[in-house]
Symmetry: C2
Subunit: 244 residues, 2 copies
DNA sequence: CAAATTCTTTGATCCAGATCAACCTGATGC
DNA sequence: GCATCAGGTTGATCTGGATCAAAGAATTTG
């Protein structure tokens, strides 16, 4: 889990920091792909990609939240990744994916055809390098999540989730206050991300609220009242394991 | 989780397939690093790297098993990766790691200094590409494990673990029979990998044995008697989600 | 605005797996 | 050979979260 958002620069043509595609949008690599860019939108709940689909497009999330998830034979599912604005779908050399991608909220994607994108990657070493960096970030995040799923209590899972979400969110434009943030996911979706049930998620949220660690007015708007207490509840040690 | 072992070729100089460093050892990229290569061995239980350590070396596992693990403040730990022979430690651009690496059995590593290795990566596009591929394989494996940790029952976890282990192992030289294999990990280590306790691991192993799915003579030697039943017990659907 | 629908909360009960506690078994050393 | 010790098994009990159930909000629809 990374604290710092990458120092990505806003692409001149695009209402989004292309965190994944390009950490230095000012270098204009992506301009080579201008004209091949299309926006697609998906309604909350809609599938974006199914497991096994051919990846015709790669895409940046412009707005909204999407989720990567895996399902067992009998229907139990587990989210294995969250895609927030600036996150990227698609990797060089991978024409298929092994998970479903679903719109968690209404989502806008900025899509590029796979072919020219791969050519760009091949021709531009530092873009390739940047994509490697991002894959490794995802790997780190996945491993943090493995620790959470394997060993944390329900309370610790919720606290970790809130902390992660605030960190990924609170520099964004839509941040309404210091540690206030919008929670665009339902209890059920959060449960799927944390390996819990929705009832347990609800109970733990309310217990953190009762203890004055967080508070929420509107059901979608949270404030972290006591950041230190929240961190304490995560079970992580002091620095939270951040590398960069 | 990948079924197929990569078609890596044995390096002329090295008693190991350099699965990670080089899928085409016959192209001799690694020969550029000859002379910088050192072997290091670690006794079972010994730490290899601590979280936060600077990575002076990158390394291939030649023999034995090592584990990546993460620890909570109060000592609970979770393995977040297994390193079997031919697996690789160290990524281009990452000078530090965010987990501990420990020898699970006695381990031999083939180490290269980080600096010349990174230069090799920079100068050799298809090695860089290969490393990206491997990072993505690890990411896939991590996500499979997230599903396991978050949603599978103890029985399903054990069955999945055995299946994974057989698949990663049974083409190796040391494989004694068709589906017979050596289990170099203790119940405790397996528990740490699966997010269980050692007692539960023991009970589930014995219950699978009682049902005739597996059998074991020596405590370290297992045979999968009924592969179909084993797969059935994993909770995964038919093809197990393999991409390549 | 009422009705329908989708989320959320809250309570009661249950159970898979953790925890606690012996005891067993095989390997290593002296 | 016996002692020690690290791992493994097996049983009894406990408990965190799941499951089942029902009753509130909020939001959407007509």
């Amino acid at each position: 889990m990374q604290i710092a958002l990458t120092a990505a620069v806003r692409c001149a043509e695009c209402p989004i920091r292309h965190r994944a595609v390009c950490a230095r949008c000012d270098d204009d690599e992506l301009s080579q792909l201008e004209g091949m860019k299309t926006y697609k939108t998906f309604k909350a709940g809609q599938p974006i990609l199914w497991r096994g689909d051919d990846l015709v497009f790669v895409a940046s999330v412009v707005q909204g939240v999407a989720a990567l998830s895996k399902t067992l034979e009998d229907g139990r599912t587990q989210m294995v990744g969250l895609l927030l604005p600036s996150d990227f779908i698609g990797r060089p050399g991978r024409g298929q994916i092994d998970f479903d991608v679903t719109a968690t909220t209404d989502v806008t994607l900025c899509c590029f055809e796979r072919k020219p994108f791969e050519k760009l990657v091949d021709d531009t070493p530092h873009v390739a390098q940047r994509l490697m960096e991002l894959a490794l970030d995802e790997l780190d995040a996945a491993r943090d999540w493995m620790l959470l799923l394997g060993r944390k209590t329900a309370r610790e899972k919720i606290a970790t989730f809130i902390q992660m979400f605030v960190r990924r969110t609170h520099t964004d434009e839509q941040a309404a206050g210091p540690d206030q943030f919008n929670m665009p996911m339902t209890r059920d979706q959060i449960a799927n991300y944390l390996g819990l049930t929705l009832e347990t998620v609800s109970r733990q949220f309310n217990s953190l609220k009762k203890e004055g660690v967080i508070s929420f007015g509107d059901r979608k708007t949270f404030t972290v009242v006591d950041m230190a207490a929240l961190h304490n509840a995560t079970g992580d040690d002091a620095d939270g394991g951040m590398i960069d």
